[in-house]
Point group: C2
Chain length 445, copies 2
C-alpha cells in the first residue's frame, strides 16, 4: 500500500513569509553538528535498555529531567505514573529432537513463565489462525508455532499479540511466534503478548525466522519436532515511574499547547535507540534548538517523554487523565515513534482545513526532503490526549523496512542511525512545531 | 585488492571438444532441481552444528558415509582421526559499570575458562597491537578489548588469533575481540585463539561490533568501563572422529587422484551451513552427478569430507599422513571452504602450464558466469597433501562480503544460501574435476 501524498501546495505560500527566516535558522542550527546524535548515544550507552520497572529507566528519567533544565527548557518536571513491572528472568527454547539445538528466542513481554524445568512438548507448526483452528485436535497438549511470514508489521503482529490466547483456547501448552520482522541474523523480536479474560495464560516466546524455518522444514518432512521452553518470566507489583515534561513557554497564549514527544521506556533488549530513544531525543532537540536560538512562539511547545509505552501505555493514560481538563488546549500533537531511518516522512491526521495549513508548512522542509506530508498521523502516546481534545496529530515516520529489521531486538542500537537522520528529524519537527505554535489562529480541528 | 584475472583463452579451444557434451550434461543435471540445497538443509536441520568432539558431528559423519553409498559412490569409507574436544560451557560478558549491560558474546574456540564467578576488571580499549604495547602499564590487570574495525578477514583475524597471547605477555587478565566481520545485528563471531609456548593462557571472547563500539565510546568519554567475563570453557581429552571418503573410480588410471572436498565439522553456533556444510555438499554433489549420469573419467575423483578443520586441522593432517606414499598421485586438489554466495569465482594456484589448461576448461563454465579463473587457489584441508605431492590447487570462492557477515556466527544457516548458488557451485566443480580427471596427460605440476 503506497502512502497517500497530499497534493503539494504552491511552493512559496505568502502567509509563511514571516516564518521563513526562523525556519531556516532552525534547520541550519540542527545540521551544524552531531549534538543530537551524541545525546542519543549518551542516553543509550549510559543507561542501556529501559524497561518499565527497571532501575535503568528511572535513572534515564532523572538524567532527562536534569538535562532538560540545563538546556534552558521551562517548567521542567516529572509527572509520576505507576507502571507494571514485568521481569524476563532466565529463558531458553531448544529443539530436543532431532538433536539438541538451542534456538535464538526472546520471551514476549507480559508472558507468564513456565514451571521450573520448562515445558516439553511436540510442536504443531501453523501459518495462520484459520490453520490452527482447523487443526484443533493437534494443538491440544502441544507447543504451537505460529510461522506466518512477515509482510507488514500491522498484518503480522497479531500472531505475537493474540497467538497465545487463540492457542490456549485450543488447549495448547505454550506458543512460539516467528519474529515479527524481516529475516535478520538469527534475530528474535520481542514485544507484548495479550491474554484473554477467563482464558488460561500460557507462556509465549518469539523465535528467529531461521529457527522457525528449521522447525517448519522438519515438520513438513514428517519429522516429529520436540521442544523445551523454559521461562522464568513473571509480573511483580506495579512501581512508580514518571513522564518527563519540559516546555518552551508561549509568549502570548501559554495555555495553548503544541505537544511533542516520544517514549523513554523500551524493551529490555538492545538499547532502545530507534524505539524510542531517538523519538525522545529529536522532539526534545526541537525544543532545545528553540531555547538556544531564543525563539519564543505564540503558544507553548511542550515536550513529553512518556513512560511505559511498550507494555502498558500507562504514561499516555496518566498524561491524558492528569491534563483532561485542558485536553482541548492541545492544539496539535506530534509523536516520533517509528524511528528516523531514511527515507523518512511526516504523516498527518486532521481536518481538511488543518491539512491545508500543514501542507503549506511542509514547503519549508523542501531542503530536508520532507515537504510532502503523507496521510496518517498519530501515535500510541499522543492518542489519548489528542482524542480527548480532538487535536490534529502528526507522526515522524522513519523507513519501515530498516526500522522493523531491528524493532524490539537486541540490535536496536545507536550506531545504525546516522547523525544526519537525527538532525533532519529534529529540524523538521522544530519547524513544524514552531509555525503551528506561532500562527495567529490555532490549527483548525 | 582486486583479484587477478588470468587472460581469458580463445572461447572454444578445440582440445575441449570431446568434453563439451558431458560438461553440458553435468551443468544441466545440476540445475534441474534443488536436490543439493535440500541435502544441505537435511544435513544442517538434522544434525545442527558439528564441533569436533560432539555427537552431532559423529552422527553427521555416519549419515554422510551411508548416503554416499546410496548415491553409488565407490570405496566409500571413513578414515579415523583423533580430534580435540573443546567444550564451550556456559558463558557471559557484561558491562557492570555503567549500569549492567549483557553483551552479545561468544568465547573463542580453544580458550581457557575463567575462575568460577568470572573475571571482573576495567577495560583497556585498543585498536592495534602497537597501541596495546605502547600502553603496557594500562594493560596489566585489565581486560583488553581489541577494537580493530573489520577490513578484510586476513587483515583483522590476527586480533582473534593472537590477541590473547600479546595481552597475556603484558599482564592482562583476559581479552575481548571485536567480531571479525562487518557489523551485523549484535552478531558475535567465534573462531579459534592460539596461545604461545610459555605464555600463560588467558580467557578470550568475541563481542559484537555494537558492544565494542559502546565500550569504545564510553572509554573515549573518560568513563571507566568495568566488565565481568565468565566462561566455563575447557578442553577435554581427544576423541575419535573421521574423514569421510568416497570415489568415482578412474577407468584407466585409478591410482591418479583428483581430490575434492570440504570440511564436515563446524563451530558450535549456527548450523555450519556456509562454513562448511555447503563445501561438503557441492563437492560431493559433483561426484553424485557423475555417478548418476554414468560418467567414469580416466582418473579417480575422490571426495573427502574432512573432520576438525576449525580447531586443529587434524583431518587434513591425518589424510596427508595416511596417504603420504601416494601424495604425488594427487594430480589436482580443489576445496570449497569460502561459501558459495554469488558472485562467486574459481581461484587457482599452479604452474603456468597448468594454468593455461585450467583457463581453457573455464570456458566451459561461461553459462555459469565462472569462466574467468582468478589467481589464488588452495584450502586448509587440501594444503598438506597438495604440498606433499606438489599438486595444483583450486578453491571455489563465494562472495566474501556475504560470507564474512555470517562466518562463525549463529547466523550461519541454510536459508541465506539459494539453491541456484548451490547448484552452480556443484556444476562448476563437476565440470572442472571431470575434465582434469579425463585429459590424456595429467595436469602439469
Amino acid at each position: 500500500m503506497a502512502a497517500t501524498v497530499y497534493a503539494q501546495s504552491p511552493s512559496r505560500p505568502s502567509w509563511l513569509d514571516p516564518y521563513r527566516e526562523t525556519a531556516a535558522k532552525l534547520i541550519h542550527e540542527s545540521s551544524r553538528d552531531d549534538f543530537a546524535w551524541r545525546r542519543l548515544a549518551e542516553l543509550t550507552d549510559t543507561f542501556g535498555h529501559r524497561l518499565s520497572g527497571s532501575e535503568n529507566l528511572e535513572r534515564a528519567i532523572t538524567w532527562a529531567e536534569a538535562t532538560m533544565k540545563r538546556d534552558g527548557l521551562q517548567n521542567v518536571r516529572t509527572e509520576p505514573v505507576m507502571v507494571p513491572k514485568w521481569v524476563r528472568g532466565r529463558e531458553s527454547a531448544e529443539i530436543l529432537n532431532p538433536p539438541h539445538h538451542p534456538m535464538a528466542m526472546l520471551g514476549l513481554g507480559g508472558s507468564v513463565g513456565t514451571p521450573a524445568g520448562g515445558i516439553e512438548a511436540d510442536v504443531l507448526t501453523v501459518s495462520s489462525f484459520d490453520e490452527v483452528r482447523s487443526r484443533a485436535a493437534d494443538a491440544r497438549g502441544r507447543i504451537v508455532l505460529f510461522n506466518a511470514p512477515f509482510t507488514t508489521y500491522s498484518d503480522t503482529v497479531t500472531y505475537r499479540t493474540n497467538g497465545a490466547r487463540v492457542a490456549s483456547q485450543l488447549g495448547a501448552l505454550a506458543v512460539l511466534v516467528r519474529g515479527v520482522g524481516p529475516a535478520g541474523l538469527r534475530t528474535p523480536h520481542t514485544g507484548s503478548v495479550q491474554y484473554g479474560q477467563g482464558i488460561p495464560p500460557i507462556p509465549a516466546a518469539s523465535i528467529s525466522t531461521e529457527d522457525a524455518d528449521r522447525i517448519a522444514r522438519l515438520s513438513a518432512a514428517g519429522t516429529r519436532v520436540r521442544v523445551r521452553l523454559a521461562m522464568e518470566a513473571r509480573t511483580e507489583p506495579d512501581v512508580e515511574s514518571a513522564n518527563v515534561v519540559g516546555e518552551i513557554r508561549g509568549r502570548e497564549r501559554p495555555d495553548e499547547i503544541v505537544l511533542l514527544g516520544g517514549h523513554i521506556d523500551s524493551w529490555d533488549v538492545g538499547t532502545g535507540a530507534s524505539d524510542d530513544g531517538v523519538g525522545c531525543i529529536v522532539t526534545w532537540e526541537a525544543a532545545r534548538l528553540m531555547a538556544k536560538l531564543g525563539i519564543a512562539p505564540r503558544r507553548t511547545i511542550r515536550i513529553v517523554l512518556w513512560t511505559n509505552e511498550e507494555n502498558g501505555l500507562r504514561g499516555a493514560t496518566a498524561y491524558a487523565a492528569r491534563h483532561a481538563a485542558h485536553a482541548s488546549n492541545h492544539v496539535f500533537a506530534l509523536e516520533s515513534d517509528s524511528g528516523v531511518f531514511d527515507p523518512a516522512s511526516l504523516g498527518f491526521s486532521g481536518s481538511a482545513a488543518a491539512r491545508s495549513i500543514v501542507r503549506d508548512i511542509g514547503s519549508l522542509l523542501t531542503q530536508l526532503g520532507l515537504s510532502d506530508i503523507v496521510a496518517g498521523g498519530g501515535g500510541a502516546d499522543i492518542g489519548p490526549i489528542a482524542q480527548a481534545g480532538n487535536a490534529p496529530m502528526m507522526a515522524y515516520l522513519g523507513n519501515p523496512t530498516r526500522y522493523f529489521a531491528i524493532h524490539h531486538t537486541p540490535a536496536d542500537t545507536v550506531e545504525r542511525i546516522t547523525s544526519q537522520e537525527v538532525s533532519k528529524a529534529a529540524a523538521a519537527i522544530a519547524v513544524m512545531a514552531y509555525v503551528i505554535a506561532d500562527i495567529p489562529e490555532r490549527l483548525p480541528r
